[in-house]
């Protein structure tokens, strides 16, 4: 279980603001192993979204190094980052971020479209992924014909369909009621347990974070605490 998937060394990120640089991340050091289920918590403005963007290869750090799956990614071009995201990372967002007027099936196929996988294979894998989130019979529905929980499950299917080792979930339950939130979190737990997917969850809700095996708290651009969730880690 010492297979390091993510290694951040002294990651800093600053934005120019009114003539001087505002430092959002002040030297983050972090290692995440294959198969972990990590929750990143922190108040708004703490820098957790910025950290999430860098971890998700949507943004690059101002300084520091980021090794993802054995490859340094801190200085890659936009297209190279796009490829990393496509191959290594599945995203689940708070606002679901599905394409409108596009069926669940086609939404799930999308990462494979950009991976250049042929149509038949795409369809087969997408149906399988939808099946694993329990939405096979809804695959031809468009997002506006699905409930919030169902939309989020489509998004999860999209995140796992390309066999990406990491799933980033940014406030995945933010727009859902308690019952649906529990369903979604159970699904993440299942993916982590049964498929050994590494899950990185960003949330500000304590009870959601408790689904994770490790909880990292960010305050003011620095890691404030990083400890295993005793209740889950032992399982």
């Amino acid at each position: 279980m010492s297979n390091t998937l993510i290694k951040l060394s002294n990651i800093r990120k600053s934005y120019p603001l009114d003539g001087f640089d505002l430092e959002i991340l002040k030297g983050i050091n972090l290692e995440i192993n294959q198969g972990e289920f990590v929750a990143i918590m922190g108040p708004s403005g703490s820098g957790k979204s910025t950290l999430m963007n860098i971890l998700g290869c949507l943004d690059t750090p101002t300084s520091g190094s980021y090794m993802l799956d054995g490859k340094n990614v801190e200085n890659l071009s936009a297209d190279e980052l796009a490829e990393i995201r496509n191959q290594k990372i599945g995203f689940v967002f708070q606002g679901f971020n599905l394409l409108s007027r596009t069926s669940a099936l086609e939404n799930v196929e999308l990462p494979m479209v950009y991976a250049g996988i042929d149509e038949k294979e795409r369809r087969r894998k997408a149906i399988k992924a939808l099946e694993s989130v329990g939405l096979r019979e809804r695959m031809h529905h468009q997002p506006n014909q699905l409930s919030g929980g169902q939309q989020q499950r489509v998004a999860i299917a999209r995140a796992i369909v390309n066999n990406a080792p990491i799933i980033f979930a940014d406030e995945p339950t933010g727009n859902l009621d308690t019952k649906m939130s529990m369903e979604i979190m159970d699904l993440f737990t299942k993916l982590n347990k049964e498929l050994q997917r590494t899950i990185i969850l960003v949330t500000h809700e304590e009870d959601i974070a408790l689904y994770a095996k490790r909880i990292i708290k960010i305050v003011d651009g620095e890691i404030h605490s990083d400890f295993p969730n005793k209740q889950k880690a032992s399982q």
Binding site: D79, F91, F93
Partner: protein, 409 residues
Amino acid sequence: MTDLRTILSIAVRAIRANKMRSVLTSLGIIIGVAAVIIMLSIGNGAQITIQNEMRSMGTNLIMIRSGSSTSGGARMGRGSQPTLKNGDADAIQEKVAAIRLAAPVVNDSGQIVYGNTNWATNIVGTDNRYFEIKEWDLAYGRVFSQTDIRNANKVAILGQTVAKELFADMDPLGKTIRIKGLPFKVIGALTARGQSGPGQDQDDMVYIPLSTAQKKVSGTQFPDMVNMLMLQAYDADSTYTSQSEITALLRQRHNLGLNKDDDFTIMNLTQFMEMMQSSTQVMTILLGSIASISLIVGGIGIMNIMLVSVTERTREIGIRMAIGAKRWDIRWQFLTEALILSLIGGLIGVAIGVGGVYILPLFVSMSAELSTFYVLLPFCFSGIVGLLFGFFPAYKASLLNPINALRYE
């Protein structure tokens, strides 16, 4: 890289999501392409009309006219003094290799009379080579015989206009007409040729043997002189290349010293035709260019709508980027959309333009002629316009930052 089918289906979906807008966007291209096709076809029609006129005049023609005379210091203009002789035609035909045939021509005009009708027309004295040069067949009757020429017989061959004006529905063959008061027997009539330019009716002529014209009709004080030689070269190039040879030969025959001007003028009718043709070509290009402007305006319409579309779909672009779309994937998506809009517009424009070319002559007296090239050209141009004006919005979309794009409301 995404496959073509997927790119196309994404673009078609986006276009169908905004049907009304897509139709209105394409309208600019539709009007542009239709306008270009109609304009080019009008120009093409004019060109074909000229080509037909040229063909009716004969091909590879050279005209040599007698030089100017000088009378008391006043130069009298081209052809005012006959300097060319019958023998010049034979000499050119014999000695200049590029010339197939040469016919001597005496021009005159006068009143011709049959019964109580009369008609003012052109009288042309020549020999049978003239008809050969102009590749002109008889409608009926016969051409001049050797005897006609040797004896300067008073026989005439009528142009169709003259035949119609004098004889109406009657058969002119064998009838006697009076040309400048002298009786002539009609031995034949030429087929109709029509106009050779504005107001020049090639059929309004009466032809008589050269010898008859010189000795009996025109009554010039220079027997054996002709106003003009009509030559036909073997091909179009020879009409240019043979000129210096003809000039040298005629100068020698006319005993012109080195310091003397030519006493004749060579006119290359092929050159004249080519000039006419190039001027209609210029007109075609001009008409086409003006119409193309509307096509370009249509392109700007596409660019405008694509920019709106990129802004509206910022979030979609963000999702695609987060999931792994590279910059060219995004670019191709929007370029394809612009291209489909413009090509569909182009197709409809072709249909309207082609229809317009058929309908147009019903309303205005203009000959418009379609040609494959003039239909394909604006269609391809519409595609180029789509690519050109689609590129900027597509480029803009591809430069979006996925984080900001995802956050866009």
